[in-house]
């Protein structure tokens, strides 16, 4: 058994778009040379600008899209060429949570059916009563009610649908889950439930997670390693704490500085990103970030940086060392903790909850 469960090698995926009958379309380089490897049991996060190719990358990893070039290896076997039965079997171990909870559920199937389906596919021996039971459990697990099994997707709110998607992905007992913004539509309390759940599964079953998310607090909370993407390429990756505490790539810095904090009256000190996001159909030459980088120098325009080792993380920037040195004193301010008043209420609440839970658990 290797350490690495999922490995991408120089993945490229291009889309031809805009070609009408007569016009020749442009080529969107949605994913343009991404290599990564995910270790068994870890949580690997991918963050990045909207439209930078995260979903495309995720679909490539899932083999829902076939790569223009490059290879994907799952559990030591190259899956770029698999199809049919072998691919279907693979999906017992590898599951996907779709980004859009609205369009990714078949409107004509009940939630029970939707969640029961992976079970039926990957555990055909299970009888229907057991399956219903399992569906009920799964619903419960993601904070929905077993009664909901008989309802149809359109009767649910966005967050509820997202949970259905998660339950569906969990059903077959996969080894790896790729989540494309799996908790984005959830309110924080349910989000917390789901994160805890995933954490538990990870601890108990050695589940590996690949998470795409925009909510960096969630990422920081959950993930072991993070990769930051910009315009179809990975610009920085490394252990979560390191990346969050000392980002090396200017884009990562900008990203982190833009996080709004759930505390009243905290002044935002964002690092401004100037300029327009370039189009993936026509990416800038050299370093793709140079058009918006506050630290850009003239040769950034011509020289494309490669990912290089930098203090335990990897960065694709020519001048990371200098920038880091510059910003030495500008360490991230710790967000102000909630006021004592609020903190006291939190404690009170937590205590009461724990009491409650204990009571439920000991009840016959």
């Amino acid at each position: 058994m290797t350490q690495t469960i999922l490995k991408a090698d120089n993945l490229v995926r291009h889309f031809n778009v805009g070609g009408g009958f007569l016009r020749k379309g442009a080529t969107v380089r949605a994913v343009d040379g991404v290599s990564l490897d995910v270790k068994r049991g870890e949580t690997f996060a991918i963050v990045g600008e909207s439209g930078c190719g995260k979903s495309t990358l995720a679909r490539l990893l899932m083999r829902l899209l076939s790569p223009t070039s490059g290879a994907v290896e799952f559990d030591g076997t190259d899956i770029s060429g698999t199809s049919g039965k072998a691919l279907a079997d693979l999906r017992r171990d590898m599951q996907f949570v779709f980004q859009d909870p609205f369009s990714s559920l078949n409107p004509r199937m009940t939630v029970g059916k939707l969640i029961g389906e992976p079970l039926e596919t990957h555990a055909p021996d299970m009888d229907s009563a057991a399956r219903r039971q399992k569906v009920a459990e799964l619903l419960n697990l993601v904070g929905l009610r077993p009664e909901h099994a008989n309802r149809y997707p359109h009767e649910f709110s966005g967050g509820q649908r997202q949970r259905i998607g998660i339950a569906r992905a969990l059903a077959s007992g996969p080894k790896l889950i790729i989540g494309d913004e799996p908790v984005s539509a959830l309110d924080v309390s349910v989000q917390a439930q789901v994160i805890n759940l995933l954490q538990d599964l990870k601890d108990e079953l050695g589940l590996t997670l690949v998470i795409i998310a925009h909510d960096l607090a969630v990422i920081r909370h959950m993930s072991d390693r993070v990769a930051v993407m910009y315009l179809g390429q990975i610009v920085e990756s490394g252990p979560a704490e390191v990346v969050f505490d000392s980002p090396k790539h200017p884009y990562t810095m900008a990203l982190l500085s833009a996080i709004p904090e759930p505390v009243h009256a905290k002044p935002a000190n964002r690092m401004p990103l100037t300029g327009e996001t370039p189009s993936p159909a026509n990416p800038p030459s050299g370093c793709r970030f140079h058009t918006r980088c506050p630290f850009a120098r003239s040769d950034c325009e011509t020289r494309a940086p490669q990912l290089e080792q930098a203090d335990g993380q990897q960065v694709a920037c020519h001048y990371w060392a200098e920038i880091a040195a510059d910003r030495q004193n500008e360490t991230r301010q710790a967000a102000p903790a909630p006021s004592a008043n609020v903190q006291r209420r939190f404690d009170l609440y937590r205590a009461a909850t724990r009491q409650e839970e204990a009571a439920v658990n000991t009840a016959p």
């Binding site: 889309f15 031809n16 070609g19 009408g20 009958f21 007569l22 609205f102």
Partner: protein
């Protein structure tokens, strides 16, 4: 675009071959003897034998097919056993007639069917919906001949408004030509209108529930625009497929209407040819309709592209 068309033409060639082999084979398997049908009441055996030789009906079927195909490649579709006219000429004579009829019927159908379908979808469950449905379904259930004859009796005999039957070439007198075709086109169009209406209704019902229709409303668009632009456009996919198919069926299905209104079109030509086992004519017609279907399908596919941008990638 060009390569798309070229590819389709390349694909069309085997299709047409397939069609011609299929129909040729079928025809030859039919009971009944073309020569017997041609020989007349007296059925002189000598004449029969001569005709068999003349039209090479004694050759093995594959040989006959190859002979025929050889002619086709040189643009010769053979001659009608019944009237001795060249098949190309017959087709050239009849095709415009039927196309005119089909187009007019199609216009009727579209003009009646689609708005009615939209209306009944939008007003689902109201009396308007019920009335539209009942009218549409009766249009479908009333046989063409009945409607045709009733129209003739009423419009031509009683009110003397339109000619009872016949045909005037469009080039000769466009207005009269259209006038003469009004009733047949209407008769032919009713069933189609019903079909289109029902499909439009169903497709619209589906689309009206979608999120983007809600978005359109949220923009503050007039309900009319929401329905006619945003909803209809997306409901059109099945309707377009269907229209293309139905147009083809129209040409084939015009038989009865042509019969009643005595329109010298394709439909009647096919039927007579089949009944008289006028092989060359049947074969020529089938070739022609085959091409027609291919063109219609091509148009339908092109319409898909236009209507559903999602298909345009790659």
């Amino acid at each position: 675009m060009l390569s798309f068309i070229l590819r389709r033409i390349l694909i069309a060639i085997p299709t047409i071959l397939l069609i011609s082999v299929f129909v040729f084979g079928m025809q030859k398997l039919l009971p009944g003897d073309p020569v017997l049908a041609m020989a007349g009441e007296e059925r002189d055996p000598e004449v029969i034998e001569y005709l068999r030789e003349k039209y090479r009906l004694n050759d093995p079927i594959p040989v006959q097919y190859v002979n025929w195909m050889g002619g086709v490649l040189q643009g010769d579709l053979g001659i009608s056993l019944r009237t001795n006219q060249p098949v190309t000429e017959l087709i050239a004579q009849k095709l415009p007639v039927t196309i005119q009829l089909a187009i007019m019927a199609m216009i009727f159908a579209l003009v009646i069917g689609i708005p009615a379908g939209i209306l009944s979808a939008v007003k689902k469950g109201t009396p308007i919906d019920y009335v539209a449905n009942v009218v549409a379904l009766s249009g479908l259930s009333i046989p063409n001949f009945w409607l045709g004859i009733m129209l003739i009796l009423l419009v031509s005999v009683k009110w003397q408004l339109l000619p009872a039957s016949g045909y005037v070439p469009f080039g000769e007198d466009p207005l009269l030509s259209i006038k003469v075709m009004l009733m047949p086109a209407f008769v032919l169009g009713t069933a189609l209108a019903a079909t289109l209406m029902r499909h439009t209704r169903s497709a619209m019902l589906g689309v009206l529930k979608s999120d983007y229709v809600r978005t359109a409303r949220a923009k503050g668009l007039k309900e009319r625009v929401v329905i006619l632009k945003h909803a209809l456009r997306n409901a059109l996919t099945p309707i377009v497929t269907l229209s293309a198919l139905l147009f083809g069926e129209l040409i084939a299905g015009a038989v009865l209407t042509e019969q009643i209104f005595t329109i010298p079109g394709f439909g009647k030509l096919v039927v007579d040819a089949v009944f008289n086992r006028d092989y060359a004519v049947v074969q020529g017609i089938v070739l022609c309709t085959g091409v027609g279907f291919i063109v219609m399908n091509l148009l339908a596919d092109a319409a898909y592209f236009i209507l559903n941008p999602r298909l345009r990638k790659q």
